[in-house]
């Protein structure tokens, strides 16, 4: 994976911004639904942000793997590692359809960064 991306800090910052809480209040072991109180629409919005921040597409099939904050971090790290290993990304058969090269990808922006994340997680390293 990209060593310059602090997945844990970015993920916790995204959650903190979403929940309007302090980053320190977001613990790795917290269950997104039961501890942090996210409902299904909150989950979808969170994943929408995560996709944007890390430039990933998360297929519905993978959602069952994600229950806790730690699960989100582990999942993102796994996907980023797979992406780094394979320049033409094929992380899993389920995602193959949605990640095959698109005709208009040339203008694609680099991974966006959360405003809240850059404010609230000053510890993370700058990306190129």
């Amino acid at each position: 994976m990209n060593p310059e991306l602090d997945v844990a800090a970015l993920t916790r910052a995204a959650l903190a911004a979403r929940l309007k809480r302090d980053v320190d209040a977001i613990r790795i072991q917290d269950d997104l639904r039961n501890d942090l109180g996210l409902d299904s629409l909150d989950m979808i919005e969170l994943l929408f942000k995560i996709e944007e921040v890390f430039d990933l597409e998360i297929p519905n099939e993978d959602l069952v793997q994600i229950a806790t904050v730690g699960d989100v971090i582990a999942y993102v790290e796994r996907r980023l590692a797979a992406k780094a290993a394979a320049p033409a990304p094929m992380p899993s058969p389920a995602t193959a359809a949605s990640t095959s090269p698109a005709p208009k990808r040339a203008g694609r922006r680099p991974p966006a960064r959360l405003k809240a994340a850059s404010k609230r997680a000053p510890a993370k390293k700058k990306r190129t």
């Binding site: 629409l41 949605s98 095959s100």
Partner: protein, 430 residues
Amino acid sequence: MPPIASPDRRVVVTGLGVVSPIGVGVDAFWRNALAGRSGVTALPAFDGLPLDGYRSQVAAQVLDFDPVRLPAGVAAERIDRYAQFALVATREALDDAALRPERENPYRVGVIMGAGMGGMMFGEEEFLKLYRGLRPGRVHPNLIPMVTLNSASGIIAIAFGAKGVNQTISTACSSSAHAIGQALNCIRSGQADVVIAGGADASLTPLTFAGFCSLRALSTSFNATPARASRPFDRARDGFVMGEGAATLVLESLAHARRRKARIYAEVAGYAATSESHHMVVPKEDGTEMAMTMRLALRDAGIQAAGIDHINAHATSTPIGDPVEITAIRRLFRTRADRILINATKSMIGHTLGAAGALGAVTCVLALGTGLVHPTVNYDDPDPACELGGISREVQERPLRAALLNAFGFGSNNAVVVFRKPPTAVRRRR
């Protein structure tokens, strides 16, 4: 106000019209529904957009629609696709009812239509043109009249001379079930003798479709096999399939129908509308709110739960929604739940949003008349969480006394309409 049993307050269905992904016209729709044909196909290429950017790539489109069928005097280019659907369905329904609005007191003929998204087709095109060309002066003068949600109910009144109550109900997925329910109340209250009721939507457009994709509401696992994507109650279901279409029902008071010797399909016996007051897009999981809505509709109809033989389920094929509806049915009907014949029209035509309730209503009415309940296709591996004895992937035949139409919409709103076989039902159309 006359008593509820009075023929002036009883409301019957005397005409049907359909534009659907499995057929334009009631005969084609019903024939294909009984045959279990899927209208779901690959998503069309959206102009200039990478199709693989869409998680879901299947849709139930009306592929054989011909605007030439529009009533004379209506300029097709001046109305959005959804309103064209509504007009064609309405013309068929009025012909079917042999009702000529110009021979009626026009102020006693109303129109109440449902629309979830409205004129999105034209709306999105103009939006794109504006931001691409940066020429606000070139936004089409017909944009506003076309995108307003009541453009369908408006053009229907204009085309057919209906000068009575004219309203549009927009409650997302339950819009046209509410339209039929409100039409019932409108006739019951004495505001109209006849109400043209139904709904339409045609929002298989780049932005709207992308929005439903991002909401993770749509099926994504069957992009290579579109006909298998919509599978209510099946274990492999993974979201709904977006569809488009329209349906219109001619409702009139029993007294009015008898006066003009109209053929009566069914009685619209009751209606309930509630809000779950719970969540914008997720139903209350224990099914209590849906069960309560069904109970209130039965009470309004004066029918016991034991009198219901058929339910046209809302059943969109989402992992969350289907089991809640079945839980609600179990909660209300208890030991009888397994003996009620249940089907999901969306298994063939996808979720037509503002048209869904009206298309389901057409199948309820035809089921009561023929005793035939169309299959739920792709019900291959029943999910134990939403299994009931009366769900089948085959046609089921049985004399049916009364049926429920369920429709539950975003915005936490529920509608249930009760249809009852009239004393002298006419068998028509197999």
